[in-house]
């Protein structure tokens, strides 16, 4: 009898432990459709891909640059959230998850907490769609946004959730979805930069737009692994059109030795290399126009 009781207690404990583990570890119980699992042999190894993917595009930095230029907040730079339920395939969901992630970074940067809730809700729908909703603590995010308090935590949880989701996708053989999210973040960041550059002359922004040549090349290297998929192929075609616009941008490097200095007891490394980006006003204009068209098509692809 005692044996049976111990057996029952242990089975209950194991089962309950499995259930709680699933919430945190993104259980393997999900029935992942074949279409969203990596197929075949990748042209570059998973390890190299992971090297490239890390921080290809951050949802924070472009928004920070725009804000540092004194550009006021505008809702017109953001992708509308009203069509989120129409995004039915994992391809569209992942790409737009990246787009909304970049928008969320922009809203957080400008402390626009009331609008944040719409974007958090959209992200929830899309992340649930590709079975990674468990990495977003939506309840806490909403509470922080609604109370308009502890905005640093709001930013931390948002960015950390995206990172967790990205790590999980890459470790569970769904790097293709991770690549789509990264692409979405990148295109939305470029769209924000180009729209701001369209309205006023900002040399630093123009230079940053020109530097996207480096990132676009890396992004295409990643996406090329999935070109056998029709939707990926269409995405690559669009981005290759954009790549052509960047082809004649020259980036030259002036070499210098890095310096380590202590400022107020803190170690600061100053890089004395310098990059100079040569981008003509005409080229900038054509990139602005092309980005606008491509972003419109991509979010509706």
């Amino acid at each position: 009898m005692m044996k049976h009781i111990i057996y029952f207690v242990l089975v209950t404990m194991v089962l309950s432990s499995c259930r709680s583990g699933e919430e945190k570890q993104a259980g393997s119980e999900f029935d992942v459709p074949d279409s969203i699992v990596n197929e075949g042999v990748l042209e570059i190894s998973e390890e190299i891909m992971q090297d490239i993917v890390q921080n290809v595009s951050s949802p924070v930095e472009m928004a920070a640059l725009v804000k540092s230029l004194g550009v006021p907040y505008s809702k017109k730079y953001l992708s509308p959230t009203d069509r989120v339920n129409e995004l039915s395939t994992s391809f569209k969901q992942a790409l737009n998850l990246g787009v909304y992630g970049a928008d969320l970074g922009y809203l957080n940067m400008y402390d626009k907490t009331s609008a944040v809730i719409d974007y958090i809700s959209a992200i929830k729908v899309l992340s649930d769609g590709i079975k990674v909703g468990q990495f977003f603590d939506f309840i806490t995010l909403k509470r922080l946004a609604q109370n308009n308090q502890n905005l640093d935590s709001l930013m931390y949880i948002s960015v950390h959730s995206f990172n967790q989701m990205d790590k999980y996708l890459r470790s569970s053989n769904r790097s293709n979805l991770s690549a789509l999210i990264v692409t979405g973040v990148w295109i939305e960041g470029l769209y924000l930069a180009t729209q701001v550059a369209k309205e006023a002359d900002h040399p630093e922004l123009a230079e940053r737009i020109g530097e996207q040549k480096i990132i676009l090349n890396d992004l295409l290297l990643i996406l090329d692994n999935y070109k056998s998929d029709k939707q990926f192929n269409s995405l690559i075609t669009e981005l290759n059109i954009l790549k052509k616009e960047f082809d004649d941008i020259r980036i030259t490097i002036e070499k210098g030795e890095p310096e380590a200095v202590e400022e107020n007891g803190m170690l600061v490394i100053i890089q004395n290399d310098k990059s100079v980006v040569d981008i003509s006003p005409e080229r900038l204009e054509s990139i602005i126009n092309k980005t606008e068209k491509i972003r419109k098509r991509l979010i509706n692809i």
Binding site: L10, Q25, N55, A64, S68, H160, I215, S275
Partner: protein, 147 residues
């Protein structure tokens, strides 16, 4: 009896994995908070390494990322309380080391260093443990400001 033993082992394994993930999440949150108030967390690098072989090179973990021109970033390192070794984070570009949380010339450790990036491109973070000891640590990349 055998079955009970197996179930206990399974339970310990499952519980251990879940509490490990929680420990990592806590260390990441704590390390991100230690990076300072006016910085924005961007990435974390969770590392667990075995000890190196005597006389051999200290094992290290590598992470690559794109950093942007005219931006100040902060690189922080936090060793886990259970770690045998003390974590060291180094920033490299191609074959040049740009910065480290441990300055071998002075023997001084820093919980973080700031990096004034002047060139958009691919950079690499290496995390290892002093004297090639085994260890667990978290590295954090934060955005400080536009220059």
């Amino acid at each position: 009896m055998k079955l009970i033993f197996r179930l206990i082992t399974l339970f310990c394994l499952l519980y251990g994995t879940s509490s490990k993930a929680q420990d990592n999440a806590q260390l990441v949150a704590q390390c991100a908070a230690n990076a300072g108030n006016n910085v924005t967390y961007l990435k974390d690098f969770i590392v667990k390494l075995d000890a190196g072989t005597p006389g051999g090179k200290a094992p290290s973990a590598k992470f690559s990322m794109i950093l942007s021109k005219n931006t100040m970033y902060r690189f922080s390192i936090c060793s886990s309380p259970n770690s045998k070794g003390e974590g060291v984070l180094q920033l490299w570009e191609m074959n040049d080391m740009l910065g480290s949380t441990f300055m071998s010339a002075t023997g001084k450790d820093y919980p973080f260093f700031d990096f004034k990036c002047q060139k958009t491109g691919v950079y690499h973070v290496f995390i290892s443990f002093k004297e090639g000891k085994a260890g667990e640590a978290v590295g954090i990349l934060s955005f400080v400001k536009k220059l």
